[in-house]
Symmetry: C2
Subunit: 113 residues, 2 copies
Amino acid sequence: MKITSRQNCPIRRATSVLSDQWSFLIIREFFLEGKRRRFQDLQSELGLSPNTLSNRLKRLEQQGVIERQIYSDHPPRAEYVLTSKGNALAPIMNALYDWGTEYPDTNGEDRNG
Amino acid sequence: MKITSRQNCPIRRATSVLSDQWSFLIIREFFLEGKRRRFQDLQSELGLSPNTLSNRLKRLEQQGVIERQIYSDHPPRAEYVLTSKGNALAPIMNALYDWGTEYPDTNGEDRNG
DNA sequence: CGGTATCCCTATTGATACTG
DNA sequence: CAGTATCAATAGGGATACCG
């Protein structure tokens, strides 16, 4: 890692996308549960309210991490998939996984999920 | 990555520590600027208010990621260093760095720093 | 220098109800 | 099913002043 400038730092850019809990946890679901996730899947898996999930998904879509595919069926069906940019998060998720495995003792408060 | 349970997931544990922007960016400073960081160094480098920095440092210390060393000099001197647990974050930071380098185009709003 | 104490603003989140 | 609308609670964070 050869960071030379704090301005425009790659880590900063990365964490500006992954700035909050939900973004990480939503992306985790794609690696955990499968390539294609539906709105209600994510909601029940993560236990968040629909408006929060909607906001996070919109942001992630804007950032090019996930892609939304909507089918006008009845009932309607929406599927979210990782883009190549989203799939490229795998090393980060793996690194987080490894670290969380090696140091399981965080006194961080736990939520449902 | 073989996640079997959403409960007690290592990624969840990791992100509960690295839940916010500042934690990542504070830790980044240790890898960027050096092993030992002082309060004022971090504050001027990151451009945050002292109370916010104080809160983040306390939490990171509680979580065992950094260690606080206080010297009762005049003027007083405090130094923060990464613990082994904190140093073990290097792969995560590297992965974030790589991803942020490969995908520099996030429309995430930028701050100072 | 290394913080703490206030005050205040904003974003995030949950809860709930509702729509196409 | 896949969201949107609304209201309320909370935490994160900035600005500023102050203390040992």
